[in-house]
Symmetry: none
Subunit: 213 residues, 2 copies
DNA sequence: CTTGACAGGGAACACCCGTTCTGTTATCAT
DNA sequence: ATGATAACAGAACGGGTGTTCCCTGTCAAG
């Protein structure tokens, strides 16, 4: 019973709970919800709260006053991702060695729906315009997953042994050779033998923040 | 009576309230605080809560169950941003009219350190490769701030009246004409008279999510 | 020694709040 | 018609919850 459609009343209750929580920092009671949504009976509020819980939109703590949690605001929705360094074209990716060595010196928090459980993820700030053919510019932050191998189509960071540079390209292994395809479709791919490319990780997310909102 | 020193008991209560709030998303009751801090009497908890309020560390809503707010970091750091539509080169940006009409049908949650308080913000999904000179590709999500005017250097979405298209460029007003500079430094700017450009909003954040983490 | 402020304990009160039970109404397939 | 089911209304029950009142002990100032 994942997602029955919400009735008008249920939708109204949900937005009220959101607004109330934003205003007061604690959830409303059943009677406060009823008063705001013009529901005279507490049992009806209770009935619809159960419906909302069945849809996975809220969590209820039974027998606890104001025991309503919005699943979207649940604290475990935030995943901290360590910002481990910068990425240059002229240097390999500084992949963090110890996965568990959680360095909270600098981290960015992202929601679980963007990055999953955050396992094996780390973030890098891009320096220079060398990744421009991957549509990634100076100052962008890339979130990467640490892995050695790549599947066809993955956008990966690779170190090219002969030219000694790091680059971000889509990876394709075909006919015994590696095709590295720029994300920008107007640019040409480059080809290499497998022994020449060392996959450093796979790009999961690109984040570009303009200064001065 | 701004800041008398906190007793051990008061400090313990404060950290318990923090932990409880982090875990449950709603504040504890007086008796729950007492149980956790080994205080047998509710009046003592009440007494020390008043002390904490006098120090400005919490706010109390009298006669309301669980009516405790932490003054420090209380506001939620997740900001919901409505995903209002798609952006094509051939059509104007679908700027949402009503700012207060909170449409939770589809929204992306981002942290406050990325987007501030989220005022006047909305998100659009980019369709097509027409924004490629702004380093924005098909499937990217752009978070925009609704505004009519732009300052020099802003990355804005503009509607060009004569060519009838939407484009994302850096905005510069110089010598009475508008210079629209692609974000990709290898590409050339275009020039237009101010009457020809209509600013639709300013890009605050670009988000590119790879499928299949 | 008395006094007053301060910190704490215990119990009772009155209201708040979630729950549950009994109906009522409307829709719909049988 | 008929039974099933969803949605809703009202009322009552019992426990949760903030508040208040009275008490004890400590400690420094008078």
């Amino acid at each position: 019973m994942a997602k029955g459609k919400l009735s008008t009343r249920q939708q109204r209750m949900l937005t009220f709970i959101r607004d109330f929580l934003r205003e007061n920092d604690y959830p409303p009671t059943i009677r406060e919800i009823g008063r705001a949504c013009l529901i005279s009976s507490t049992s009806v509020v209770n009935y619809n709260l159960n419906k909302l819980e069945e849809c996975g939109l809220i969590n209820r703590n039974l027998r606890v006053s104001r025991g309503i949690q919005l699943t979207e605001a649940a604290p475990r929705n935030l995943v901290p991702i360590p910002l481990v360094g910068r990425i240059f074209a002229s240097e390999p990716v500084p992949v963090p060695d110890a996965p568990a060595s959680f360095a909270p010196d600098e981290a960015i928090n992202l929601t679980r729906d963007l990055v999953g459980d955050g396992a094996d993820l780390f973030a890098l700030e891009v320096r220079g315009d060398s990744m421009i053919d991957a549509m990634i510019g100076d100052g962008d932050v890339v979130v990467m997953k640490r892995q050695i191998e790549a599947r066809n189509g993955d956008l990966v960071a690779v170190w090219l042994n002969d030219s000694e540079e790091t680059t971000l390209k889509h990876f394709y292994l075909e006919d015994g050779r590696v095709r590295l395809q720029p994300a920008n479709p107007t640019m040409q791919p480059i080809y290499a033998i497998p022994a020449n490319v060392r996959v450093q990780g796979k790009v999961v997310l690109v984040l570009r923040q303009m200064e001065a909102i």
